[in-house]
Symmetry: D2
Subunit: 302 residues, 4 copies
């Protein structure tokens, strides 16, 4: 399973604080390190990707996110280290890949973007080969040509784009972004049914337009648990002890920073709320000073 | 345009003699170097690939070729240098890519193989985006899933495989391999016609099963020249002067080595015969001692 | 020979305008394309690097430049394309490498940085193997451990750092940066003399602290020309015709942007002044509104 | 800690049986998988390297080993998969790197070779920065220029080469190869003593000339255990159950295949003998039919 994190902050946050400096970032992850002391970096490393939006909107630079991807492991990537030290952003997606489908190439690394929209996936579409043709047939000529790699996830991204009323819109409401996730999952379930696929699909999708984040925790099964998904928010996310020990502090009631991740990213597990299987979370854009927790909406799928 | 070479030799030849040591290999190519002295390595470098068959058939190792591909330039690739020094083969394909379609990834590097069959392409399918869906629709489920990258060339390979009577056959006659090339070109022409594509396609295809080589020089136009294709044969291909100066020697009438390449690979241009536009060449398997020039068949396409 | 560019602009400039969009950037360079029409990208591609300073100083992000390096060719690098579109900077170094020494690795790609100082080199130190030990012996323990790769250029960078009165200083005057270049060249000449090396070294060095740029055009020979070096300045550098045709416009007397490059980067050669062999150019920091040409100082080396 | 394996076999063995197919190869290693079921590939992946000698000596191909190295993880490397399927060798070194020193580059991947000699290291030289200059000073000009990367291990290789009476010899006796290992360790200990380094060094070195293998398990401490090292031998090493389950079979008394590895490579731990701390093992060349276990010599270091 991959490791993913999505972060939204009212104040632009240095990528290093999310990715490279914390001992328990998705890149350096060593949570259960007490259980396997002999392994220095027991994580998967089939490439990774980071995507982020600008701190200050500049028409010349456009509204699309910047993406950095690599097929060499994230934990030892000089370019990532330097970029993470020098970049601040109010909205960041990070993804460390463990191959389940698709070869090792940058084209196959998450996240992907199309104009303002950015997308990543944690999980897998069961027996994707059996539904690939039908999925492709449902796409417009424009979106059929979007995928550059050969993963189920990137085709799910194209399918997602096809569920937006206008993929080229300058603005997307949280409801539009959320409904397209629901439609995507519904469509994938339908394709699976038609192909008599019984193995469940794991559909933790993460979507953003730079303002709203939608993240689903979903499995197409009544009995199994979906891939894990956690949520945390607070006033600041900062290092409380040398050596990359970070925590989410809650000094007042404002929620300046919100994280959604495949696993808790700090040792204080109480700070992390598990998102229930087959729900989704919507983080809406908000007034400058805070990202309100009441913005979180949980919706039952199917 | 890419640079390609296909070589068949009665005696296994060290890859270094074809790829890395000659000053005018497809990798080090500097033919017109007198015209641009200031440029040390004026060649394209969007990745490369080499494929070769075993010198001695070993059931345990199988009948498929070995492929080595890289997205870093071939002229400075330590792995290629070492492998080329240590490997001999009776049949070699080499391809240096200049991107016309598809991103920079190993998946997009030629040649590709499927069981015994190996394939590469020099040229481009005009407005491929307009015929991609129909081409895919014509493939069996098995072959639809063969391509891992996103190039027109790799889909042409899948189309080629679909033209073989039995893609899993242990043996292929030269006629079967040749006819499938003709069928592939015919099919691509038909798809272009249906899509009202008037821009010509450049379809220099190279196919082999490890014994026979078929190479086409084709353009879907009555007026234009296809991408260049040359042919040379001789008794030995060896270095006649230090510094990587190679030539094809013809010490007797036997043709021990045959090369088909996108341009002459030695300074003795007289040793290279241009293959005419819209013809193809078939190099048939032969008795041990020689590869006969009479084995070369030229067939008019269309 | 490598291709290099150093740019200083009063207004932060989008990297794309310097690197990826112009047809004649150091990356897409096709200046003499009329002479060799058949070659789409006749440039060298043994890796590349870009370094840039922040538009706005942010204490948290530090004063060091950000570097992005790659061993795959620059002209087809998705990460570079995306970063160049999304980044503005007032001071940029770019380097496309053609290997003369050192293997293909990011460690061997220019530019390098140490705290605030950034450095790159176009040329080569003659018979470097013969002076490597002595050069290393002259370095402090701290600087001896700086180089991570195995190029003459990176050791020249360490030597340069050793010529600064205080490598950790927060501020460097233009004179200090310039004198260290002169001292570096002097020291390299001395090492060559001691080792009886007669082959000339090509020492075009580029150094900056984020404010001042010093660039030398030097050859350790009385008779030969150094590697080329050009200079241009103007009010804006912008696209005047679609397809990446850029020019330096001089709408008033202010010099808002200054470029130093291994060759003219626009077709208007009149806009480019050749920097004479064995001189150096210093671009000093200036008041906000312009970078004055009178800031350019030419000093004869030895 | 890295993972390493060295194999010698009387019959050339397909690399796939050692590297890519076994579930418990150094590449796919999942030995303790029952303890951490949630992690699919809990191994380090800072590059890897494989080196092997020819099955049949061919003067044209030379006596040096072939090396294949990569900075992308071994478990998902298409080139490695293909080469491992198509290559047989009587003597193979494999190394999966977990960075302790040196950046991620092919130059920093083990094994290294110099003419016939191949070398790799598992461990680390304590506070290497403090002894690097002195180590370099002890090398001849020729050997000083051998290292291309910046790891302690590659400098240990250069030091090893300096301990051979004649690095260019066509033949090396087992005693000569072994004594050079002892001298290397002795010299490193001396350098550490002079620099007042008290942290112990882990010096598991593996050396071969294509015939003999010498492997040390050493720590420069009286109290600590060295990095683990195991030894196994048998008649054949083959798959006994689908899914990559391999075992060493001992059908008769002949030892056709000998492995030395950083950990047992099969589940039958009884088949693996732990090599004691501060000893070394020498696998000598033998008559065609078998590699005898009595060839194993244990020598106490200092």
């Amino acid at each position: 399973m991959c490791r993913v994190v999505a972060v939204k902050s009212t104040t632009p946050i240095q990528l290093a604080h999310l990715l490279t400096r914390p001992r328990h970032s998705i890149i350096n992850q060593a949570f259960d390190s007490r259980l396997r002391l002999d392994l220095r970096r027991p994580i998967n490393g089939d490439g990774f990707g980071v995507g982020w939006y600008d701190s200050v909107v500049d028409e010349e630079l456009g509204h699309q996110p910047c993406l950095f991807k690599s097929i060499t492991p994230a934990w030892n990537n000089s370019n990532l280290n330097r970029i993470a030290e020098k970049t601040k952003s109010p909205l960041v997606f990070g993804h460390v890949r463990a191959t389940t489908a698709g070869s090792l190439s940058q084209d196959n690394c998450h996240p992907w973007s199309y104009e303002k929209i950015m997308f990543m996936h944690n999980g897998g579409i069961a027996e994707f080969d059996k539904i690939k043709r039908k999925l492709q047939a449902s796409l417009s000529d424009e979106l059929f040509l979007v995928p550059q790699g050969n993963t189920d996830s990137e085709w799910a991204f194209a399918l997602y784009l096809s569920k937006l009323p206008d993929v080229h819109a300058r603005e997307f409401s949280p409801a539009v972004l959320r409904d397209a996730v629901l439609e995507t999952i519904r469509h994938l379930n339908e394709l699976a049914r038609e192909a008599n696929i019984t193995e469940p699909s794991l559909l933790n999708f993460f979507v953003t337009d730079g303002s709203t984040i939608v993240a689903s925790r979903y499995i197409s099964s009544k009995y199994d648990e979906a891939a894990s998904l956690y949520f945390s928010s607070g006033t600041t996310f900062s290092e409380y002890a040398p050596g990359g020990h970070y925590r989410m502090s809650k000094s007042d009631k404002r929620e300046n920073i919100i994280m959604v991740a495949s696993e808790p990213l700090t040792f204080e597990k109480a700070d992390w709320m598990e998102i229930k299987t087959n729900t989704l979370i919507v983080i809406t854009p908000k007034a400058r000073s805070h990202v309100a927790s009441q913005a979180v909406t949980l919706a039952m799928l199917k």
